[in-house]
Symmetry: D2
Subunit: 289 residues, 4 copies
């Protein structure tokens, strides 16, 4: 966290078909260039026959330069048919938060960011309502009002995309954003849009999940943070958590209990994403927490 | 638990439309006959406008006899349009356990019963396999082998019903019984058949829920104890619990983790039922735990 | 929550030696005056031989006036040697929050209050630092800076007591207030000062509990909300909660995870207190949640 | 779990001062001999400056023989000042269970072993009472009655040590064994005796922890599995878990709830130990689960 030379740190994320010699090859290329592995976590899925690895390493005593190291890793990647990604710690990810009227997740993310829990930059907030503008601006963050109607959706999404592009946004967080993004929109940010759904997916997909849960008489309610895909509520799950309820809980009680969950579960998912701890494959995620 | 004169204790369960004066009327009739209220729990559902109460009382200083008290309660019940039920503690409920080949829930219930956790009598075990016969008989419990095929189902259910009737069974526990009971069968034991489903309902209804959960990539798995109705996996939920999982967990790991949950959740549901702590209304339960 | 005539609602809290006829007597006196019992929860401690009850009732069809009802309840209380307390819902409790520099619990309480989760009035915030003044004033709450040194403690506590008295404060919440209140101070607000201690008491009493927990290598950390007595960290516990940790968690990680717990556990304790759900006896609490 | 050639699998556990090149050196030596790394987990403690790693590898295509590989690893170990340990999967650990009269943890371990959850051999059970002999023998496990008095302790511990030695026991599990082992005894099995303590350590050390917890009025109770050292209840913690309780729970209820925790927490600790997932340093553990 408080590394002295944190811009010397980097994270390498790797996904590839599982093969012999992978681990040694990556360790060797890093060591050979003077990079020191601080932390490594890996996973093999025996059914999908896929291999996943996250390596955090220190480059303060690098024998070559970054470009050379990146090229060398690229060669290993080609040899083993890897998808790989290197993040240099100095370059924090840029985040846009989309929100409607509910403030709790938004405030929570802004507070966590201010207290250094989230290693990212919050570049802008986009909302289809004006209510939260003063609050957002108190935190020194740009607020953009982009109202949506069924008629203007395509045009407004173009405005949003322009804002995202201008701010070079890496990650979109839907912090109880009550609008459905178009297929074209989501396709432009694959595995880079995180939504918080207020149910324990796949239970209670769709609207008003706390009402559905109350109706069904469940004894536990939950929430789910997931990447957004074109299929609503079906994207890869990043994190879930639950809280006990009983016959005494009204829908209003479930909503109240759920708010606490929504905040922590969304915050965990965002933190893991910006720290490059999440790898997606198919409909599933590997989270190296 | 260690009441000196526990056969002097009784439990009154009441469900009725919510009306003024209910609580006072019941308190008054008990007090007027010399019954001492030890414990009382109540709930009003403001949407369904239903009232629920569980009263445990001591009759060791009763001014009249039990019959007179029961008639007096019956009069209050009629006045307030109540469904009511009195259980006298001396008369333990008689339980039949249905099981296939999985032993963990069965053994768990037998052990809990032996250690006095469950205040009931385990009258018999019925299985469509022979494997667990020696185990059951070690606990001094009758074992009946009732094999099921698609052809003989109706006839074999008749055999089961005859066994249940002969043992005067109050409650049927499906302890990972892999057969579906017929509509006629379930209609004969309304709110008296408890099943353990190995998912966090309503997620993953139907077969192989741990496989479904693994496939979907959830971060938490759960189990559900519910009353059996004619609609599979849709009966009123009595209890649920969950356990965390991750990308590292294979289906076999989920099954292993789930076993621990299935045991405790089924045992809680059975304990609450035999202690008259569960009231059903519509698709939901009130559990006075 | 959304009661139409909520100032017609009242809550009666009762503690007394356990005796026959108690429940009927209270039900009778309420019913006899036209008060309608909405909700009742009771508990008997068989070891302490104490009886506890919380009754919520509606007085919109009262046959007499409030004074007459209160006197009638007072007579029952005398007869059964009860301590009793009636809260009329129209009169929200007045709360003072004491805080040092950590903002998370303070902001959390202010936000929950704004979103109507906490049925109380937040009258003032007292801090031994100035940092949080602008934040508090944004919420429209009075902020008072009362710096403490070892020399001026007695005098400054007098200032605090004067502020509390002037604002007619019912409840003091120590929201990570890093000062120890004097014995005289705590004696003036018995069972009316709530503290959040950042450990799972009685483990890790005293200072720097997350450091202690990290040192000891525990696999779970917790927090505790309790009433403050003259004995530090030994007051009656209102609520506790925990979160899993591992060898991977640094002290900073434990502090981060703990913050989320501190917020929800303190908020629950405050909510239960202002809704008259907590009864204290000896070193313990009964919480009718 | 169901590896085809599971006796070709091995686990390497390593602890050493943290140094550059460690990870690459171990990966290289394994790869160089034809061993395929299946799974690797590592941890660096930045305060203790210690490095920990667990590597599971497959030797079915080894280019040399096991002895040569072990010598090569030994050379790396010497170079980096490592303590290392290799377990070959064909050679299951041999376990002795010590028990008094409480049967629940013992039966639970025997059942889990029978259902293949625990990859070990249960070699014998030692008890200071005779009661559980028939039960243990039903599972085909040797039972030895070694009664303890204050007078005969030293002599009886010698008998126990002889039994342990004769059965070549690798791990001793105290499954609610109500005797305190002597300092000499524990010194002979460092980090190889696991105890289940029925409290959330360090809260409630010593005797009758559920009574202590009830007395203190805690809202959560827990249990702790730890390695036994000469200092009672202070050994390195392997696993903990908790369950919620309330004012309604008597000591008997806490004991009942606690039993379920004791079983699962002890079982997890034993499973992790026999799968070589636990590394001890100082008073703490690293658990690669």
């Amino acid at each position: 966290m408080s590394d002295l030379h944190s811009d010397q740190l980097a994270t390498l994320l790797v996904t590839c078909p599982d093969r012999r010699g992978l681990v040694a090859a990556l360790a060797q290329v890093l060591f050979g260039h003077g990079a020191n592995i601080l932390d490594s976590d890996q996973h093999s899925d025996p059914i999908a026959k896929q291999f996943f690895q996250r390596i955090r390493f220190d480059t303060s005593e690098l024998l070559t330069d970054r470009g050379t190291l990146e090229r060398a890793i690229g060669e290993v990647a080609t040899r083993f048919d890897m998808r790989s990604r290197i993040s240099w710690q100095g370059r924090a990810k840029r985040v846009a938060i989309f929100v409607s009227k509910y403030e709790h997740c938004l405030i929570d993310l802004l507070l966590r960011h201010r207290s250094k829990e989230l290693d990212c930059e919050i570049s802008l907030v986009i909302s289809n309502h004006r209510e939260l503008k003063p609050l957002v601006e108190q935190f020194g963050v740009d607020f953009h009002h982009v109202p949506m109607t069924d008629q203007n959706r395509a045009e407004q999404e173009r405005r949003e995309l322009e804002l995202l592009s201008r701010h070079e946004v890496d990650l979109i967080v839907l912090a109880r954003y009550m609008q459905i993004l178009s297929r074209d929109f989501t396709a432009l940010y694959p595995q880079r849009i995180i939504n918080i759904h207020h149910s324990f997916l796949p239970a209670f997909v769709g609207g008003k999940p706390y009402h559905q849960a109350h109706e069904r008489g469940v004894k536990i309610v939950g929430v789910t943070a997931h990447y957004v895909t074109e299929h609503l509520d079906e994207g890869p799950i990043i994190e879930q958590d639950v809280v006990r309820c009983s016959h005494r809980d009204s829908v209003a009680d479930l909503i109240r209990k759920g708010r606490d969950l929504e905040k922590v579960v969304l915050a965990r998912a965002v933190r893991w994403h910006v720290e490059d701890r999440v790898l997606v494959y198919g409909k599933k995620t590997v989270v190296f927490d």
